[in-house]
Structures are given as structure tokens and as C-alpha cells.
């Protein structure tokens, strides 16, 4: 099984984590809020889970979940002032928040400063042990490392599906309709009786939770984190998943994460020209698809195409 080599599996791992990150910013964007704080929330989740599992020896699942919860709690605090901000002002404020978190991580002892934390309990090793003890790895004739990584991919895929399903259900709910109305026209929504501040906070907090979760998963997938992992560079990456893939349909950020994580690997043969070509491709894409690859119209076409035969085209509305 050549395709199951550790290198490929690692790329798939990053694609899945990045897809979750892309969804986190998509959730906040679904109320029209452009938050650039998701790298900050990601680092909160990553550090929290790493410290909880290493220093206190807590189980991984607990650490990861707590990482998300902590990010959500911090979002609740900073959201009170920031959700009142509009457009670029919100972007700048949340960008500043991310920087504050990074600098704090750089200076605290518990986060081990610029050196970062290494030897974080690994999800793939934990999962590998599970595979071994059940004899499943042997049955499939996989070695320990591959079995663990494969387990991690499956786990991340399941979490991604959970997050996707949650958001899709949310969009169909009363809350989702309020989100959509706020995104369209905040004042109009308010006049219709929608508590705009409440729903903007809600989407901000859910987005932060998902980012924190992704951060914790990242920490336990790479075993090593340092403050640079969550700098401006990451902010731009996360934003790009949504913008490049399409920020009006949930599959957009997923597609964006897939392409943008894979692209640097595919372009590896270009050596030093890799970053240049990557940048050029971004520019070309944005010229031809300014609303991202997956626009609402394209998504509707694909849906009609997939439903062809089952439902009459266009009959999926209402």
C-alpha cells in the first residue's frame, strides 16, 4: 500500500485540520463579521490542550475539548466589545487580539516562551496503540506508524463531518436564518426583531470554539507548537481558505483548505520558485473567481446536478 505512506497521510492530516479552521472563520463570516482572531483562538486551544495533557496528565479527548471551550470563553470576553465593531475595524481589533495571545505565549513560562512546547502527547501514537491492541493493524498488515496516522485521519475526518453537519443544521434553523439576515443587512434584521448583538456574539463564539478545537487537534498531531505557528502567516492562511474556496457556501472553505494545503506540496518540484508560483496562482484565481471558487450559483448548479433524477431541478427551495 504505497498510497498509505506517512508523508501522504501527514498531508491529509493537515488538509483536514485546515478545513476545520476554514469552517471556523466561515461560521464567524456567516454573520458578516470578518474576524482575524482565529489564529489566536487556535493557539489558545493548542496551548491549553498541550499543557493540560502534559502537566496534568489529563486524557487527550478532555484536553482537546477543553481547548475549544477555553477559546469560546475568551471569545465571550473579547466579543463583548468587538462585535460592536464593523468591517475593517473588527478585523484590526481581532488581529490585535491574536498578536496579544502570541506575545503572551512568547513570554509565559508555562508556554515555554519562544522555544515552544515539544513532546506533546501524540494522537496518532495513541490511536496506533489502540489499533495494535485490537489486532486491527496486524489484520490489515499495517505498521505501527501508518496505522496510527490512518487512525488520526479517520478521527479528523469524523470531527470535520461533525462540524460540517452542525453548521449545516444551524443554517437551516431559526438561528441560521437570523445569521443570514444579519449578514445581508444588519439594520434590517434588527428592525425585524432579531437581537443582532446576541447572534453576532453567538457566531463569534462558535467560530472561536471550532478554531480552538482545530488548534488542539493541531497540537496533538504535530507534537510541537511554538508561538510562530500562530502568527500573521496563519491568520492569512485561514482567511485564504475561506476567500479562495468561497466564503458564501460552507463547502468553499473546505475546498479552499484542500487546494491550498495540497498546492505547496504539489509544487515542491519547483524548489525555490514554489512560493512565487503559489502567489501567482492565488492572484490568477482571484481575477477569474473573485468570489472564490465555489460561489452560491456554482454550488446550486452542483446540487441540482447531484440531485438530478431524485428531485426536480430547483425544487429544493422552500
Amino acid at each position: 500500500m504505497d498510497i498509505l505512506n506517512p508523508y501522504y497521510l501527514q498531508i491529509v492530516t493537515f488538509i483536514l485540520i485546515n478545513a476545520i479552521l476554514g469552517i471556523s472563520i466561515y461560521i464567524t463570516l456567516s454573520t458578516g463579521q470578518m474576524s482575524l482572531g482565529n489564529a489566536g483562538f487556535m493557539s489558545l486551544g493548542a496551548y491549553a490542550s498541550a499543557i493540560l495533557t502534559m502537566k496534568l496528565g489529563l486524557p487527550l479527548a478532555f484536553g482537546i475539548f477543553t481547548g475549544g471551550v477555553l477559546a469560546a470563553l475568551v471569545a465571550l470576553l473579547i466579543g463583548l466589545p468587538t462585535t460592536r465593531l464593523q468591517g475593517l475595524y473588527l478585523a484590526i481589533a481581532t488581529l490585535g487580539f491574536g498578536e496579544v495571545i502570541r506575545v503572551v505565549a512568547l513570554n509565559l513560562e508555562i508556554t515555554n516562551g519562544a522555544l515552544g512546547i515539544s513532546g506533546i502527547p501524540s494522537l496518532s501514537i495513541t490511536l496506533g496503540k489502540v489499533f495494535n491492541s485490537t489486532g486491527l493493524a496486524e489484520a490489515l498488515s499495517l505498521d505501527f506508524q501508518v496505522a496510527g496516522q490512518l487512525g488520526l485521519v479517520v478521527l479528523l475526518l469524523l470531527i470535520l463531518i461533525c462540524v460540517l453537519t452542525f453548521q449545516l443544521l444551524l443554517e437551516k434553523s431559526r438561528i441560521g436564518r437570523a445569521f443570514a439576515a444579519i449578514k445581508e443587512d444588519e439594520h434590517a434584521a434588527e428592525v425585524m426583531g432579531v437581537n443582532v448583538v446576541y447572534y453576532k456574539m453567538l457566531s463569534f463564539i462558535i467560530g472561536a470554539f471550532v478554531a480552538g478545537l482545530a488548534g488542539a487537534l493541531y497540537a496533538h498531531s504535530t507534537f510541537f507548537i511554538n508561538p510562530t505557528d500562530f502568527s500573521y502567516h496563519k491568520v492569512v492562511d485561514i482567511l485564504l481558505y475561506a476567500v479562495f474556496g468561497g466564503s458564501n457556501v460552507i463547502w468553499g472553505p473546505v475546498l479552499g483548505a484542500f487546494i491550498l494545503t495540497l498546492l505547496p506540496e504539489v509544487l515542491r518540484f519547483m524548489a525555490d520558485y514554489r512560493a512565487m508560483l503559489y502567489g501567482a496562482l492565488l492572484v490568477i484565481m482571484m481575477v477569474f473567481r473573485p468570489n472564490g471558487i465555489l460561489s452560491r450559483e456554482l454550488a446550486a448548479k452542483i446540487r441540482t446536478f447531484l440531485c438530478f433524477g431524485k428531485k426536480s431541478p430547483g425544487g429544493d427551495r422552500q
Binding site: R177, A181, D185, H187, E190, V191, M192, V194, Q318
Partner: protein, 236 residues
């Protein structure tokens, strides 16, 4: 039903309302007329809680709502049909109407929607169409339909005739009259003074942030100053 007492409001250092007092009696149609920049829209926005007044108070059914938030005011039974209509362009007609009933949880939403389609058949025909693809007149109908979906006690209409063809304007005014007959109180801001005066019971005339004239709509319509300024000279 609605009472404004010495209301002062503005944007930053610009004072747009210089101590406005007006009253809307239950079941009536009251119109607020005046030129551009007189402060009509600001009055509507202040009632809705979108602008905080610096002085004065707003009473709705005897309750002081001056410090209430917009969504709370909406839930109390005041619906605004905003200037420029504010249709949710990327939502369908149906979804726009559903949003209008957002704070309702009763079981009669469906039947109210049928009533809106009965009043505006064109909306029924286009219910799966996106709001942004409707014509101006249809959007105005949708905005009014959406406001009706909230079952308001008081409907605020901000220049519903703006930018519409004369034929559509008469239809909109006919509908406003019907809404009023159905028991909803109406406060109507208009630049189309002739039409507004025709359907209103009482009228206020605003100029540069002040109310300069008020009275029975018919009397206000006959006032030489109003005829001079808004009705194109002295006609019968």
C-alpha cells in the same frame, strides 16, 4: 398609541431633530411630510431605537421605550418599512417574509403569509425568487408584506412611494389604507404630499428638524404655505 415628547436627536454634533413632539392616535393614519433633510427619516429611526435621542421621550402604549433596543421595540409591535426598502436581496421572497415573522412563535404564520400573497399576488407568484431580483414596486410590496408578517400594532412607513411609477404608487397607497382599515395604526413619512394627505387623518409638516405645522390632514392640505411649498402652487 405613540407619543413623542420634545425629542432631540442627531448624528454626532449635527442635531437633526430639534425638539419634536407628535402623537399618533390608535387606529389612525398620521403622516409626516416635509422636504429632504427635514428630519423625517431620523424621526422614524429614533422611534425604532436605531438612533439614541439626547433628550425627550418616546411613549408607546403608555410605556417609555426611549432606552429600549431596536429588536425589543420590534417585538413590542412596531414595524418599520425602511426607506429604500432594505430587502434581503440574497434571500427568497418567502424567506424575507419568514424573517418578518421572526419574533413570532404562533401557528398562524402560514395563514398570515397566505394573506400577504392574497394582498400582493405577484409576491405569491415569485415566492422562490431572490428578493434582489424583484422590481422596485415589487420590493416595496415585499417590504410592506414583511412588516405585516410581524402583526404590528403600529406600522412606520418611510417614503414607500420613493422611486416608483405613479400607477404603483396609487396601489401602495391603497394598500396602506387597507392596512389601516384592518386595525393597524400607521405613521407615514412621505414626500408625495398630495397622496399622503389624501389618505391620512392627521398631518405634521417638518422643516429643518422642527414641526412647523400640524392639523387635520385636510386642513393641512389646504394651508397656503403647504400648497406653495409642496403642492405646486395655489390650486383648489
Amino acid at each position: 398609541m405613540l407619543k413623542l415628547k420634545n425629542l432631540v436627536a442627531g448624528y454626532g454634533s449635527i442635531v437633526a431633530l430639534k425638539s419634536i413632539s407628535l402623537e399618533v392616535a390608535q387606529g389612525s393614519i398620521v403622516t409626516l411630510i416635509g422636504a429632504n433633510g427635514a428630519g423625517k427619516t431620523t424621526t422614524m429611526r429614533t422611534i425604532m431605537g436605531l438612533i439614541r435621542p439626547s433628550q425627550g421621550e418616546i411613549l408607546f402604549e403608555g410605556r417609555d421605550i426611549t432606552k429600549f433596543k431596536t429588536h425589543e421595540i420590534a417585538s413590542m409591535g412596531i414595524s418599520l418599512v425602511p426607506e429604500g426598502r432594505s430587502i434581503l436581496a440574497r434571500m427568497t421572497v418567502l424567506e424575507n417574509l419568514e424573517m418578518g415573522a421572526y419574533q413570532r412563535k404562533d401557528k398562524e404564520i402560514e395563514s398570515d403569509m397566505e394573506k400577504v400573497f392574497g394582498r400582493f399576488p405577484i409576491l405569491g407568484e415569485r415566492k422562490s425568487q431572490l428578493g434582489g431580483t424583484l422590481s422596485g414596486g415589487q420590493q416595496q410590496m415585499l417590504a410592506i408584506g414583511r412588516a405585516l408578517m410581524a402583526r404590528p400594532k403600529l406600522m412606520l412607513l418611510d417614503e414607500p412611494s420613493m422611486g416608483l411609477a405613479p400607477l404603483v404608487v396609487s396601489e401602495i397607497f391603497k394598500v396602506i389604507k387597507e392596512i389601516s382599515a384592518g386595525g393597524t395604526t400607521v405613521l407615514l413619512v412621505e414626500q408625495n404630499v398630495r397622496q399622503a394627505i389624501k389618505i391620512a387623518d392627521y398631518a405634521y409638516v417638518m422643516e429643518t428638524g422642527k414641526i412647523v405645522l400640524e392639523g387635520n390632514a385636510r386642513d393641512v392640505g389646504r394651508d397656503p404655505r403647504v400648497m406653495e411649498a409642496y403642492l405646486g402652487g395655489k390650486q383648489a
